[in-house]
C-alpha cells in the first residue's frame, strides 16, 4: 500500500529542501491525509502543518502528502511573479487538468499543455526532457513503449489529473503494478482502469476499419448502456452487425463495467496513438 507514496517521495526528493521545510514532531497518531502511522511514513516522525482554510484547525500531514503544496521553483520553475516581484514557484498540486507518471525507477514525468511547458522549460524537469505536451494517458503509453515501465512489478504511479484538491489526491494515492489495473489518480480519488484490455479493443476496432467511429459516444452507446444496466438488445444487435468480427471485440472488452463506461474517452486517447504507429 505504501509503495505509491514511496515512489512520489523518491521522485521529489530535490523538492523538499530541509532548510525550507518547517517540520515538527507530531502529537497525533497518524498523518491526517494518508492516515499512515508516523513510523510508517517516508520521513518517520516528521510532520508539516496544513490548514484547510481560514478558520479551520491546523492538521499534521506527512512530508510526502505535503509535497504537492511545496513551491517547486528549481524542479519546475516560476509559475508567476507575486506582488512585489517575488517569484512564485510552480506547485505539483496546482497543475489542474494536467497529469503525470512516476516510473518504477522513481522518476517523474509530467503531461502538460504548451503554456506550462514554455513556463517550466528551464526548470530541472524541463532540462531533463521530462515535460511532455500530451495527455496523461498518452504519456503513460509513451513511457510504456519506451520500456520505462518494464519493471512494473516494482510499481508505477499514474496521475490522471493533479487537480485542485491535493488532500483527496494524496489521501488515495497508490501505485499500479500492471497495465491491466492502472489506478487513475485524480482529486476525485483513485479508480482502476483495465488499460491492457482497452489497448486490445483499440487495436481490434482499428484493424476493422472503425477508427473514426470508435471515438464517438454513439458507437459505444449500446455497450455503455448495458454496463449501466440499461441493456437494449435491438441496439446491441445493430452494433454487432456494424463490425466484421464483433465477437473478438466483445471478448476483449474490460470485465469491469466502470471501465466500459470510459470506452469513448479512452479510445479518443488510444486510437490516434495507434494511427501514429506509437502503440
Amino acid at each position: 500500500m505504501s509503495r505509491g507514496y514511496a515512489l512520489l517521495h523518491q521522485a521529489t526528493t530535490g523538492l523538499r529542501d530541509p532548510a525550507m521545510m518547517d517540520t515538527f514532531t507530531p502529537t497525533t497518531v497518524s498523518c491526517a491525509c494518508c492516515r499512515r502511522a508516523w513510523d510508517e511514513v517516508e520521513d518517520p516522525g516528521l510532520a508539516m502543518e496544513y490548514q484547510y482554510g481560514a478558520g479551520y484547525a491546523f492538521e499534521s500531514v506527512c512530508t510526502t502528502c505535503y509535497t504537492p503544496r511545496i513551491p517547486a521553483t528549481a524542479m519546475l520553475g516560476v509559475e508567476k511573479l507575486a506582488r512585489g516581484g517575488n517569484p512564485d514557484g510552480g506547485k505539483l498540486g496546482m497543475l489542474a487538468g494536467s497529469g503525470g507518471v512516476i516510473t518504477p525507477a522513481g522518476e517523474l514525468d509530467l503531461a502538460l499543455p504548451q503554456g506550462w511547458i514554455d513556463k517550466f522549460q528551464d526548470g530541472e524537469l524541463g532540462r531533463l526532457g521530462r515535460l511532455h505536451r500530451c495527455g496523461a494517458m498518452a504519456l503513460l503509453l509513451k513511457l510504456h513503449s519506451a520500456g520505462a515501465l518494464a519493471d512494473s512489478h516494482k510499481g508505477f504511479v499514474f496521475i490522471e489529473n493533479w487537480g485542485r484538491k491535493a488532500d483527496t489526491l494524496m489521501g488515495q494515492w497508490r501505485a499500479s503494478f500492471s497495465l491491466s489495473e492502472v489506478w487513475c489518480l485524480s482529486d476525485q480519488g483513485a479508480e482502476p482502469l483495465d488499460l491492457a484490455a482497452m489497448i486490445d479493443v483499440a487495436r481490434l476496432v482499428h484493424a476493422q476499419g472503425l477508427a473514426k467511429k470508435a471515438v464517438t459516444p454513439a458507437f459505444w452507446r449500446p455497450i455503455v448502456q448495458a454496463a449501466q444496466g440499461r441493456r437494449h438488445d435491438a441496439s446491441l444487435q445493430k452494433w454487432t452487425e456494424a463490425l466484421d468480427d464483433p465477437m473478438t471485440v466483445l471478448a476483449a472488452l474490460p470485465v469491469d463495467p466502470h471501465s466500459r463506461m470510459r470506452l469513448t474517452p479512452v479510445m479518443r486517447e488510444l486510437i490516434p496513438l495507434i494511427e501514429e504507429g506509437a502503440l
Binding site: 500500500m1 491491466s180 470485465v255 466502470h258
Partner: protein, 214 residues
C-alpha cells in the same frame, strides 16, 4: 472430509469493492467474530482447507455470477461522507462553529462520496472444506464489501453445490503458476496471504471476475 464447493449468493444491492476484493476466508473470519462476539481475538479455525504448500486458505475471492438476461452492472452509489463526522467537523471550524443542523445540510452541506458499486444477479465464492459449516457461519452476516453497514452488498444464501474446477484457486498466491485458470491473467500485488501476517509479493486475479451461470 473436505470437499470442493461453489457457494452461490443472491445479490440484492450493489457491492462496493474495497481495494482488495473480499474473499471467502476473510468473510468467514468476520462471521466467526460475530459468533464469538469478539472482534479482536485471532481466528485460526475456519472450516476451509489450509493449503500448507501455498500458504493460504482454499477459498476464492468474490466472483460475480451473471445470466444470459442480466449482466454485471456498474452503479454509482453516492453516500453522505461527512454527516457522521459533523461534531468533529464542527470542532475543526474554530471561528464559525456550526450552530444548527438542517435536513439539507447545515452551514456546510453534507458531502457525498461517490463509490463504484457492482450489481449482478449472483455473487459466488469457491472453496474447499466443510460447506455445511461455511453456510452456518455465513448465515450470521448479510452484507459484503465497503459500506456494508449502510446496506450495500446485501445478499441471501442461494445454494451450495460441488465444484469440479478448482475454483478456490481464484485468490492471491505466491506463484503465478498457481493460477491454473485461462480465464484471466494474474496481476502482481503486495498482500498478506492469510488472515494475519505481513504483506508479501503475490499474484492475484483481477479485482472484478464474472462468470456466466446457465
Amino acid at each position: 472430509m473436505a470437499t470442493a464447493f461453489q457457494l452461490r449468493l443472491r445479490l440484492h444491492t450493489p457491492v462496493i469493492l474495497p481495494v482488495v476484493t473480499p474473499r471467502l476466508d476473510t468473510l468467514l473470519a468476520e462471521a466467526v467474530r460475530h459468533q464469538r462476539l469478539d472482534w479482536a481475538a485471532p481466528v485460526d479455525d475456519l472450516p476451509l482447507t489450509w493449503d500448507d504448500q501455498r500458504g493460504g486458505y482454499r477459498g476464492s475471492q468474490a466472483v460475480f455470477g451473471i445470466t444470459a438476461q442480466h449482466g454485471l452492472v456498474g452503479q454509482v452509489v453516492k453516500l453522505p461522507s461527512s454527516v457522521t463526522r459533523l461534531p468533529a467537523h464542527a470542532a475543526t471550524r474554530r471561528n464559525k462553529p456550526i450552530k444548527n443542523i438542517k435536513i439539507d445540510g447545515s452551514g456546510t452541506a453534507p458531502k457525498l462520496t461517490t463509490h463504484h458499486g457492482y450489481l449482478s444477479p449472483y455473487l459466488m465464492f469457491y472453496g474447499e472444506g466443510d460447506p455445511e459449516q461455511c453456510l452456518k457461519l455465513l448465515s450470521l452476516i448479510h452484507h459484503v464489501g465497503k459500506e456494508h453497514a449502510r446496506g450495500q452488498g446485501h445478499f441471501t444464501i442461494e445454494a451450495v453445490e460441488p465444484d469440479t474446477d478448482e475454483g478456490w484457486r481464484m485468490r492471491p498466491w505466491r506463484s503465478a503458476e498457481d493460477h491454473a485458470s485461462d480465464r484471466y491473467s494474474a496481476v502482481p500485488d503486495t498482500l498478506r496471504m492469510g488472515l494475519t501476517g505481513a504483506d508479501e509479493p503475490v499474484y492475484r486475479p483481477p479485482r472484478v471476475l464474472k462468470e456466466v451461470l446457465a
